[in-house]
């Protein structure tokens, strides 16, 4: 690992603090993630597990009530945490672009497509109106929009959902960013368009050498799209590593349960498997591991002490006492007996 990663989050924490300072919601807690250039990282977790907050933290766009309380965001060798706002604006849209949860509503109804696709170019590169327009046509072509010359002068309401989506993709890549964060970009789409859009994102990623962070709760998409996977639970990354390794042998009971809850065609189960219980209240986390109350494999230590991030031999990490060195062997030994 001599090469420096494109993005490296080091013990990053972002908390929401209530006005009186009495309630602290640990939306992102001690997250450490590395992402190399051109890699794809999937972030999965239930709603409220801090996925979207993590994305906003990287962009430094947290709502006023939240702030980064610790850690570093190293991007292209610089720490984004202490960049002034003016410099952050240079990063947003230019070096790190983002696709929002509802791309259908992401276009301003009053402006032409060309105007909106060209906007980041004009804001960041000072491109002239005419130049931005020409480049917008090229961008539309690159996201496979038929007859871009006509489309560029039209308004969002004249486009189909799939097209609007691809246009939002075009806005995302307009300034050739190094990192694209897609926050559940397909949840509002029907399945056929979803597949098309995912393919398009992959092609764009390959062509432009983009690193991609894909936030979703759909494990199927992760399996198809991503090299790396980070599973979030209650603001923490409970397990991360190469997708194939995690899918084949999940180390954390939560990951195991998550994978088990995917319905399969071959199943003969009458009922879908669900994870019992509710995700914890982030403002009053249990003393030990936050998953312990729902964990089928929890033992005494889990309830008393939160596990640190253990590195596994195959480039994975897991926050679980079961993954602690020694414990795994002894459990294996027990199983063998």
């Amino acid at each position: 690992m001599s090469q420096e990663p494109l993005l490296s989050l080091e013990h990053l924490s972002a908390h929401y603090v209530s006005q009186q300072g009495t309630r602290v919601v640990r939306a992102v807690d001690d997250v450490t993630i590395r992402l190399g250039a051109g890699e794809t990282l999937g972030i999965v977790g239930e709603s409220g597990s801090g996925k979207s907050t993590l994305a906003l933290t990287i962009m430094r766009l947290l709502p006023p009530a939240a702030r980064i309380v610790g850690g570093r965001i190293m991007f292209e060798g610089k720490n984004l945490v202490d960049k002034p706002e003016a410099e952050m604006r240079e990063v947003r849209g230019k070096r790190i672009a983002m696709i929002l949860q509802d791309p259908m509503a992401s276009l301003n109804p009053l402006f032409t497509i060309g105007n909106q696709v060209g906007e980041p170019l004009r804001v960041h590169e000072g491109a002239t109106r005419a130049n931005a327009w020409q480049r917008a046509i090229a961008l539309l072509k690159s996201v496979r929009i038929a007859s871009p010359q006509t489309r560029v002068a039209q308004y969002p309401h004249e486009m189909s959902g799939g097209m609007r989506q691809r246009i939002v993709g075009a806005i995302g890549i307009s300034c050739e960013p190094r990192l694209l964060i897609a926050d559940e970009p397909t949840t509002s789409l029907d399945l056929t368009i979803q597949a098309q859009y995912l393919n398009l994102l992959r092609e764009l990623q390959r062509e432009h050498g983009l690193a991609l962070i894909f936030i979703t709760h759909n494990l199927g998409i992760v399996a198809k799209m991503c090299d790396q996977l980070a599973v979030m639970y209650a603001g923490r990354v409970v397990e991360k590593g190469p997708v194939a390794r995690i899918f084949n042998a999940p180390a954390h009971p939560y990951t195991k349960a998550l994978l088990g809850s995917i319905p399969r065609m071959s199943d003969n189960r009458r009922q879908l498997t669900a994870i019992d219980g509710q995700p914890p209240d982030l403002s009053s986390l249990p003393a030990g591991c936050s998953f312990a109350p729902r964990c089928p494999a929890a033992f005494a230590r889990c309830r008393a002490e939160a596990p640190p991030e253990f590195a596994l031999d195959d480039g994975r990490t897991a926050r679980c006492w079961l993954a602690a060195p020694g414990v795994a062997q002894s459990l294996d030994a027990q199983a063998a007996k």
């Binding site: 962009m59 766009l61 604006r89 240079e90 990063v91 947003r92 849209g93 230019k94 672009a97 983002m98 929002l100 949860q101 509802d102 791309p103 259908m104 509503a105 992401s106 276009l107 301003n108 109804p109 009053l110 402006f111 906007e119 980041p120 804001v123 960041h124 038929a146 007859s147 006509t150 039209q154 309401h157 004249e158 939002v168 806005i171």
Partner: protein, 300 residues
């Protein structure tokens, strides 16, 4: 070289054409009010050509002439003459100009101040929002007419001052409505996308928020036009508006009010009808625009 239009573009073009149906053929379009407003505007613009006499010069020899259809009336003075022998019709015609200029510019002044402050307050939030909204609350607690009289007493009556006073009195209505609109707009995805794309607050307010609230501002302006005209007439009637001998409708009513008791009804009734028609028309148009533009705004 032959250019073959792809069928897709052809249908799109057709769809665009059919969508731009003429405005006045829309359902429920207030044809009569708009005609009245256009007529008043026309009269105001061409007052010099249309008015038979100078509105400010009269002759005491022919004072208090009744309208043409009453005994003693003459075709020379269709709507009669006032207490100093000025032609009422000519004064009404020039009065239209005063009402139009004062009404439109005052609405514009109020609209610009109110819209800008509303956007700043709604988008920036925090202390800017607090300041603007507390000022607005205070403003709205003051009775508009009394406040306007107070301001007029300080700066003195003149046409320009009346415009500024009305603008200052009525900007708060815009600020309120526009702020509410902005609060919902700034949660919309396209605004968030602009933030994520690195646009500065200034760019977002100017390019993404302002064009989206202009519709509401226009509707509000149409509704405010009536209010502003009535206030202008009231101020003139009370003697703190457009200074005499300029012909303003409110002023004409004030001048004629003594004559009302002795039967010179035409001095007050005609300007009264003019004010009523103009305000009613503006309100009807405003109501229609509000209904017409609002649901579309939600659909977009």
């Amino acid at each position: 070289m032959t250019v073959i239009t792809p069928p897709e573009t052809a249908t799109l073009a057709a769809a665009t054409a059919s969508r731009s149906t003429a405005f006045w053929r829309l359902k429920g379009f207030p044809l009569i009010p708009v005609t009245i407003l256009l007529f008043i505007a026309f009269v105001a613009v061409f007052a010099d050509v249309l008015a038979p006499y100078d509105p400010q010069i009269g002759s005491l020899a022919r004072r208090f002439k009744p309208p043409v259809w009453q005994e003693g009336g003459s075709w020379a003075y269709l709507l009669g003459t006032d207490h100093v022998g000025r032609d009422v019709l000519s004064r009404l015609i020039f009065g239209a100009r005063v009402s139009m200029i004062v009404g439109l510019t005052a609405v514009l002044v109020a609209g610009v101040i109110g819209t800008l402050l509303g956007i700043l307050s709604g988008y920036l939030g925090g202390w800017a929002d607090q300041v603007v909204m507390r000022v607005t609350d205070t403003w709205l607690a003051l009775p508009a007419l009394t406040f306007a009289i107070f301001l007029a007493a300080i700066v003195g009556p003149s046409e320009l001052n009346i415009i500024l006073i009305l603008g200052l009195v009525y900007w708060t209505r815009y600020a309120r409505v526009i702020r509410g609109e902005v609060l919902s707009l700034k949660q919309r995805e396209f605004v968030r996308l602009a933030i994520v794309a690195g646009c500065s607050k200034r760019v977002i307010m100017w390019r993404h928020i302002l064009p989206n609230v202009i519709n509401s501002a226009i509707v509000l302006a149409t509704l405010m036009l009536g209010v502003v005209i009535v206030t202008e007439a009231s101020l003139s009637f009370l003697g703190v508006g457009v200074p005499p001998p300029k012909p303003a409708w409110g002023l004409m009513m004030a001048d004629g009010k003594k004559g009302l008791m002795v039967g010179y009804w035409w001095l007050t009734v005609f300007p009264g009808i003019c004010i009523m028609l103009m305000v009613l028309s503006a309100n009807l148009l405003g109501d229609w625009l509000r209904v017409k533009l609002d649901p579309q705004l939600r659909q977009l």
